[in-house]
Every structure is written in structure tokens, then in C-alpha cells.
């Protein structure tokens, strides 16, 4: 395993590489086509380089553990806005998730509907491209339109356009209080309608999920204590037509409920393949029905998690739909056979292939991981 300790060492390794490199951070998210190649770990590039709570910005080397960043933020009562999912339980992996990995996979969680994904909080990157050049884009300020936004391009590129060495985030204050809401017994259709009403209210809902298995539809609001108390009351009124609303005001209990949703805990202990489907929320009940498997809805319905028997080609079942489906958990054999990332329409696939050829002309960075 190659484990550079500095960006310049990493640059030399990539420049001198003779074959494929399997780029990895904490190794907790083995998603995509299996990659053959020498393992290049970025975990050695660790440490928070700059944190200015008064400017809501933090800069860390890519191999810094997510836990370290979250602890530093928590000490100042701040947090990463996008609530990154921890994939370890679902994927049965060990190790420490890194901030570079979070960015490379554009990981987010339930708060994505209100606060955006990792890509929305990411304000700067440094990376080493496939030729070994060190490139920076963005910076450490939250408003920046200087030149093309390669920051967004790097988020979710899974190490196939470059090896991240440093990432900078815009962060937000952590809320003083939270309230959770639960409505029992709604059908998928009713639940999506109820969540649309909640998300269309002025009460700043930061989580909207539906667990058909448990027969519960869940909502969350966060903020200052008095404000949460007020909005909790108002939101409960608005939701009353959908059924009896149970309100949970214990912050630890609310946090645990949403941690389980974030990490798709419901499928962690069940065998089978897990897919992640992004759709227009109102399309969700129909698409979910086509999966033929057990499902969980997040993002007001915009995100469907589906559990299906091993080796199922879910895309074949879904047919054409507006959105995309990613195979998140499956055996290596299945991931080699069924494209884990949703095939793009021809013009976009051509652009993506063009970008890949420009940023990694030798095709050595995580080759094949995202598809052809």
C-alpha cells in the first residue's frame, strides 16, 4: 500500500505510477465497480489546517478523520450542515471515515433537503490529477465565483478525476434544540403528501422520512429552544389532518432516530442488495412500488433506499424514470456485472468521458469505479 505523508509525496507517486491506483481514504465506502490496482491511501495526509468559527469555515487535509473534524466543530457549537451518512453499518466496513472520502462520494444525509449535500458546503479543494499535477480550486471563503467551479466537479467524482489532498467547508451553527414528529399508519402516497406539506411550510423542516416497515412518517425541526417550541406547535397543527402527531422533544432521542435514518440502519442487518434512488418526491411512491423490495424514504420522498434480493438488476425493473439509481451494497460479482452508477444519457456520458480523459489521461485513478 502506498501511504504518502505529504501532498508532494502523493504527487510524485501519481506522476511515477506505472499502473492503476486504487485511491482510498478510510476505506469505509466500497461503492462502485471493484478496482484492481495498487492501493493509494490518503489517510496519512491528516490534520485540520484552519478553523475560524467566526467565519464559519474549516480547512482540513483529505485524510483527516470525519470524527476529528466533527469534534472540533462541536467544541464551538458548530457542525457540517449536510449530515454525512456513516456507511459502516450498512456496508459492514471498519475503519475511520475521512473528510476526503466524504467529498469524493458527495455524502450527505437527511438534512440534504434543507442544507444541501457535501458539494453545497464544499468551498475549496486541492487535488493531484492523474498526471501528478497539484491543482487548487475554490478557496476558504464562502462566496467565490473566480474561475470554473472544479470544487463541484471533484465532489462525487470518487477519486477518478484526481486525488483530493485538502478540502474546505462552509459550516453552520449547531442548533440548541430539536424536535421530532411521528405520524403512524400512512400509506406511501399519503406520507409523501404529508411530507410535501411539511416541507412547504415556513417552519424549516430539516428532515422528512417515511419508514413503511415501521409504519412511521418522521419529521424534524431544529434551532433555538424557544423557536423550536413555537414551530413544533405550529407544525403539529399543520400536520394534524394526516393523523395523530407524536412529538419528541428529547434532543438525544431525536438525534438517535435521525442517525438511524441517516445510516439506513433498517437494512444494515438484513441480507440483500441495497440501492439508492433519487427521484422527484411525488414520483417516489410509484418508483418504490416498482422495486418490488422493502423501501425507506428520505428527503420527503426524493431519496428511496431499496432492499432487493442479491444480484437483482433493479434498473431493469424500474425502466425509464426521471432520476437515477445507484447500487450501494452488493457483492463484488454483482457490482462487476451491474453498473453501480446510473448510466448517463449519451451527450452527458460523452462529456464525462472527456473530463476523465483530460484529468486522468492515463486512466490510472480508480479505473472503472464509476463505469466505463
Amino acid at each position: 500500500m502506498l501511504s504518502p505523508a505529504t501532498e508532494s509525496e502523493l504527487s510524485e507517486i501519481v506522476a511515477g505510477a506505472r499502473g492503476a491506483l486504487h485511491v482510498t481514504g478510510g476505506g469505509t465506502r466500497p461503492v462502485g465497480r471493484p478496482v484492481a490496482g495498487e492501493v493509494l491511501s490518503v489517510a496519512g495526509l491528516a490534520g485540520i489546517e484552519l478553523y475560524e468559527p467566526g467565519a464559519l469555515t474549516i480547512v482540513a487535509r483529505a485524510g483527516t478523520s470525519l470524527a476529528e473534524v466533527e469534534a472540533a466543530l462541536a467544541a464551538e457549537r458548530q457542525r457540517l450542515p449536510f449530515e454525512p451518512m456513516d456507511h459502516r453499518a450498512l456496508l459492514g466496513t471498519k475503519g475511520e471515515p475521512t473528510v476526503g472520502g466524504v467529498v469524493a462520494a458527495n455524502v450527505s444525509g437527511p438534512r440534504r433537503i434543507q442544507a444541501g449535500a457535501a458539494r453545497d458546503s464544499l468551498i475549496g479543494v486541492r487535488f493531484v490529477d492523474g498526471s501528478g499535477s497539484i491543482i487548487k480550486n475554490g478557496g476558504r471563503v464562502m462566496k467565490n465565483v473566480t474561475g470554473y467551479d472544479l470544487v463541484k466537479l471533484m465532489a462525487g467524482s470518487w477519486g477518478t478525476l484526481g486525488v483530493l489532498t485538502e478540502v474546505a467547508f462552509k459550516v453552520l451553527p449547531a442548533p440548541e434544540a430539536a424536535a421530532g414528529f411521528s405520524i403512524a399508519g400512512l400509506s406511501d402516497l399519503q406520507a409523501v403528501e404529508a411530507m410535501a406539506v411539511a416541507l412547504g411550510s415556513p417552519f424549516e423542516v430539516t428532515g422528512a422520512a417515511h419508514l413503511p416497515g415501521a409504519g412511521r412518517t418522521l419529521l424534524r425541526i431544529e434551532g433555538f429552544a424557544a423557536s423550536v417550541a413555537y414551530r413544533a406547535g405550529r407544525l403539529a397543527e399543520v400536520m394534524a389532518p394526516f393523523g395523530a402527531v407524536t412529538v419528541e422533544r428529547d434532543a438525544a432521542a431525536v438525534a438517535e432516530t435521525w442517525r438511524q435514518i441517516r445510516d439506513v440502519q433498517v437494512f444494515a442487518t438484513q441480507p440483500g442488495d441495497v440501492w439508492r434512488i433519487s427521484v422527484k418526491p411525488s414520483d417516489a411512491p410509484g418508483v418504490a412500488a416498482l422495486t418490488g423490495g422493502e423501501v425507506m424514504f428520505d428527503w420527503g420522498g426524493g431519496l428511496i433506499w431499496a432492499l432487493v434480493p442479491e444480484g437483482t438488476d433493479l434498473r431493469a425493473r424500474l425502466g425509464a424514470f426521471a432520476g437515477h439509481a445507484t447500487l450501494v451494497r452488493a457483492s463484488e460479482e454483482t457490482r462487476a456485472r451491474i453498473a453501480p452508477f446510473h448510466p448517463e444519457p449519451a451527450p452527458l456520458a460523452a462529456l464525462s468521458a472527456g473530463l476523465r480523459a483530460k484529468f486522468d489521461p492515463r486512466g490510472i485513478l480508480n479505473p472503472g469505479l464509476m463505469g466505463s
Binding site: 433537503i113 432520476g323 448510466p343
Partner: protein
């Protein structure tokens, strides 16, 4: 500002090119008369002007594709134009280019409250997007100052922000999808009503690419439910340092105001003389706005004023009524007009880390003396996006050049303290030649590779963003081809 020499071969083929365009489009959609072309010779960066070869105003995505196919085949550069409000020269033509204006593409295509999005044609103005949904208590969040006139197409090209992006983000955070036509005339759908990309975040790189990767004809935008209410507080301080420290303390306390606006003494004096908003005469003034129900607003403003009091403000004025709120915003909103009333001015747009605010303001004051040009500062303090306004006299020989040199020095200072050249206006031609102060050659090369992929012939919006010397090989290779 140096622009490339127009391609004589294209200029000599003007009538043929115009004929091809006229044959493919309705007659009124092609402008080629010298006098009429003058209307398109510049955008809001009026110091630079150049009439284009022709202007086309297509009314559909199909017509845009037709225009681009013709221009691609003819090797003619194309300058996309929204409403022409760019302060950076983003829509400045070259003499051998065709302007592709999207002003006729101004319809609302779909409003979906259940899924909280609106789909519009890209020529629609920013404010009229909100206008289409506000009767149902929804709004589109990015609010650039030019929102009455500026088009969504330009907002996407420049990744525009506004006063309220501390809470709601900028265009890229509120853009869900686009219909885009490539320079070769290929129509593509990127993103949509669902979230995130299937593969690479192409939408993310298109947003903010200054019209150099494709022409956006339709956009799916996130809309939000309006808050129950909003109220500002005005806080005056006797030094910039203290005002800067107060901003930092407010943020650290966990309050997230929707806006924190900052004005310095020269700006306060000018706006007071112009708009008579009743501002106190002090060194620095903050306008902090919060949202929510009346009780929530009271709570947040209570916390903010408590923090402000620790910094010994010379003035602390909470709006008690809608009318008072309006008066507090009046001066800020008329700041640019007030400056224009005094003299010609150049508006800069650098961003700095909030912690560097006092130092940067002090240095700008010193430079102002050195250059002998007055400068007023008004900006979005919460996110460090500065808008220094340098006053000059366009009729005085050499004054514009002096002003530009001063502006360049301020932007270099922004980069030096860890910030950037432009926070929301874009690079255009205005900051093009300063890009090397912020980026190493490899950084610019990486950006230009993206352009190579989307527009291999380098015909879209030429001579912008990248210093001419840096992009020359790519531009000339293809103009010759």
C-alpha cells in the same frame, strides 16, 4: 483592456453569415443593422464597448440550437447574453462574434409546489421568478441587486449571489437542472426535479462557467416557502474593527441572520445625502436582518443586540414597524445610486475571510490616499463579500486607468489575505488578467481542460475568464481551423 484582433475572414463573410441566420430564424430575430447593433455593444461594464457582427434573439431551444449549429459550422464566436447587466463585461462582444440573446425565452414552464421547484426559460428575470410564485407564499432565494433586470441565464453563468445568501446560498445551491445547448448545437438535459447527479456533477461546473461551456435555455430552480416575517436592526460603531468583531461574535453565537450588511463612513455619508434614510454619522454601520415568526424574531434580535451592546455601539435601532424596516434598508439599497450621483464609480467584488475585515478596510483606506481616489465600502459582511466602490471621473484623462490600477490592487489584497477576486459578479474581461494572481498555471490549465471538453473549438464567449496569453494557443488553434 486588450481584446483579440477580430478575425478578418469572419468580418468579410458577415453578409453570408447573416443570410444563413436569417434563413433559419424569423426575420425579427436577427439584428444586423449597424445602428441597432449599438444596443448590444456593452453590458453594465460600460467602459468597454464593441458592436458585434450580428445579434440573434431566438424564441425556443430549437432556435438556439439552430443558431449554434450555424455559428459552429461557420467558425463564428458566440457571446451568450441574458439581460446585459454584467458588471464584469461577461456579455461584451467581439467584432467578429454573434450575440445570442435569450431575452425572448422568458416563460414559466412549470410550477410545482409539492416538489418545490419552478421550471423557467432562462431569459426570465430573477425577480419575476419569485413574482410567479409569491402569490402562493413561495420565493426564489438568490437575490442579486440587479434582480429587477438580470436574467436567470446570467445568474447561472455567473453563479450570482445576493444579500441573503448567508442563509440561502448562491445560485449553484438553488439550481436543480438545466436544458443546455452545446456550441455544436446539441441539446442536453442536465439534472432535473431530483437531487444530485448520477455521475460527475456537470451541473455544478456549468453553473458559474460564464457562458463558456454551453447556452442554458431552461432552468429548474428550487423554490422555498416564505418565512413568516423578517425584521432588520441597525447598529452603528465608531470603528471598522469593532464592527468586524461584532459580525464575528454574532456568527459565533449561533445566530444565522439572513443578511449582515456593512457600510463604512464614506458610504454612510453619501447615501445619507442622497436618500436621507436617517442613518447615524459613524465609522461603520451594520444592518442585520433575521427571519421567522414575531416571537422568533424578537428572540434572535434580542441576542444580536445583546452581543452588539458588548461592543459599545453608538447607535442601535431595531425596526418597530414595517415602515422603519423599510427606512433601515433604504440607505443600503440606494448606496450604488448615491455613489453614481457623486461621480463615476467602479464596483469591486472581492471576497475575504471575515477575520481580515478590519485589516483590509484599513489598507483600502491607505491605498485610497496613495491613489488620490475616494472609495466607499458597502458589502455582505456575513460572508466576506466586499463591494468597494472607487469614485473616478470618466471625463478626466487617465482617471479610469488609475481607478483600474487601484481596483486591481484591492483585489490582489483580497487574494493575499486568503480570499478571491470575485464573490458573485464573475471574472468576465474585468478580472481576466488578474487570474494569475490567484491561480498557478496548473490551476488555470485544469479549468481550461473543462472548456476543451465542452467547447473544443473555443468559440463560446471568447476572451473572457482566462488571461489572453494563457488561452491564446487554444483560441488561435481553433480560429485557424
Amino acid at each position: 483592456m486588450e481584446m483579440p484582433t477580430p478575425d478578418a475572414a469572419i468580418l468579410s463573410r458577415k453578409s453570408k453569415i447573416v443570410e444563413r441566420l436569417r434563413a433559419a430564424l424569423p426575420q425579427a430575430a436577427v439584428i444586423h443593422d449597424e445602428a441597432e447593433l449599438r444596443a448590444y455593444e456593452c453590458d453594465a461594464l460600460t467602459a468597454y464597448r464593441c458592436p458585434p457582427l450580428a445579434v440573434v434573439l431566438p424564441a425556443s431551444t430549437a432556435e438556439v440550437a439552430t443558431v449554434l449549429k450555424i455559428c459552429h459550422a461557420e467558425g463564428v464566436p458566440v457571446v451568450p447574453r441574458g439581460s446585459g447587466t454584467s458588471l464584469a463585461g461577461g456579455a461584451l462582444p467581439t467584432a467578429d462574434s454573434v450575440i445570442l440573446g435569450v431575452s425572448r425565452l422568458n416563460r414559466v414552464l412549470e410550477v410545482d409546489y409539492d416538489n418545490r421547484f419552478i421550471r423557467v426559460q432562462s431569459g426570465r428575470t430573477n425577480l419575476s421568478v419569485t413574482g410567479a410564485v409569491e402569490q402562493d407564499d413561495f420565493f426564489y432565494a438568490p437575490d442579486p441587486s440587479s434582480q429587477l433586470a438580470c436574467a436567470i441565464a446570467g445568474n447561472i453563468a455567473m453563479n450570482s449571489g445576493g444579500a441573503h445568501c448567508l442563509k440561502y446560498g448562491v445560485t449553484t445551491n438553488n439550481l436543480l437542472g438545466v436544458t443546455m445547448v452545446s456550441m455544436a448545437g446539441e441539446v442536453m438535459e442536465i439534472g432535473g426535479a431530483h437531487l444530485d447527479a448520477a455521475g460527475y456533477d456537470l451541473l455544478g461546473v456549468i453553473c458559474g462557467s460564464e457562458g463558456q461551456l454551453g447556452v442554458v435555455t431552461e432552468a429548474t430552480l428550487r423554490i422555498l416557502r416564505k418565512p413568516e416575517g423578517a425584521r432588520p436592526v441597525l447598529i452603528g460603531f465608531d470603528s471598522n474593527e469593532v464592527a468586524g468583531a461584532c459580525v464575528s461574535d454574532i456568527i459565533k453565537a449561533g445566530v444565522l441572520p439572513v443578511a449582515i450588511e456593512f457600510m463604512d463612513r464614506p458610504c454612510i455619508e453619501a447615501t445619507e445625502a442622497f436618500a436621507k434614510a436617517g442613518y447615524p454619522m459613524c465609522e461603520a454601520l451594520l444592518i442585520v436582518e433575521v427571519e421567522g415568526s414575531p416571537a422568533e424574531i424578537d428572540e434572535q434580535l434580542g441576542l444580536i443586540t445583546q452581543i452588539a451592546r458588548r461592543h459599545n455601539p453608538v447607535e442601535l435601532r431595531e425596526a418597530q414597524s414595517e415602515d422603519e424596516a423599510k427606512r433601515i434598508w433604504l440607505g443600503r439599497k440606494s448606496a450604488f445610486g448615491a455613489m453614481g450621483n457623486i461621480n463615476d464609480y467602479m464596483c469591486l467584488d472581492g471576497t475575504i475571510p471575515v477575520s481580515s475585515l478590519p485589516y483590509v478596510l484599513k489598507r483600502i483606506g491607505e491605498m485610497s490616499k496613495d491613489y488620490g481616489l475616494d472609495v466607499a465600502n458597502v458589502f455582505h459582511a456575513g460572508d466576506g463579500n466586499m463591494h468597494p466602490l472607487i469614485l473616478f471621473d470618466a471625463n478626466k484623462p487617465g482617471d479610469l486607468e488609475l481607478c483600474e490600477a487601484f481596483g486591481a490592487d484591492i483585489l490582489k489584497l483580497c487574494v493575499e489575505v486568503g480570499g478571491c477576486l470575485t464573490g458573485e459578479h464573475g471574472v468576465g474581461i474585468e478580472k481576466r488578467d488578474l487570474m494569475t494572481t490567484q491561480f498557478a498555471p496548473e490551476d488555470l490549465e485544469a479549468q481550461m481542460r473543462v472548456k476543451d471538453v465542452f467547447d473544443p473549438s473555443w468559440l463560446l464567449n471568447p476572451a473572457k475568464v482566462f488571461p489572453l496569453a494563457v488561452s491564446r494557443a487554444r483560441r488561435e488553434r481553433d480560429i485557424a481551423a
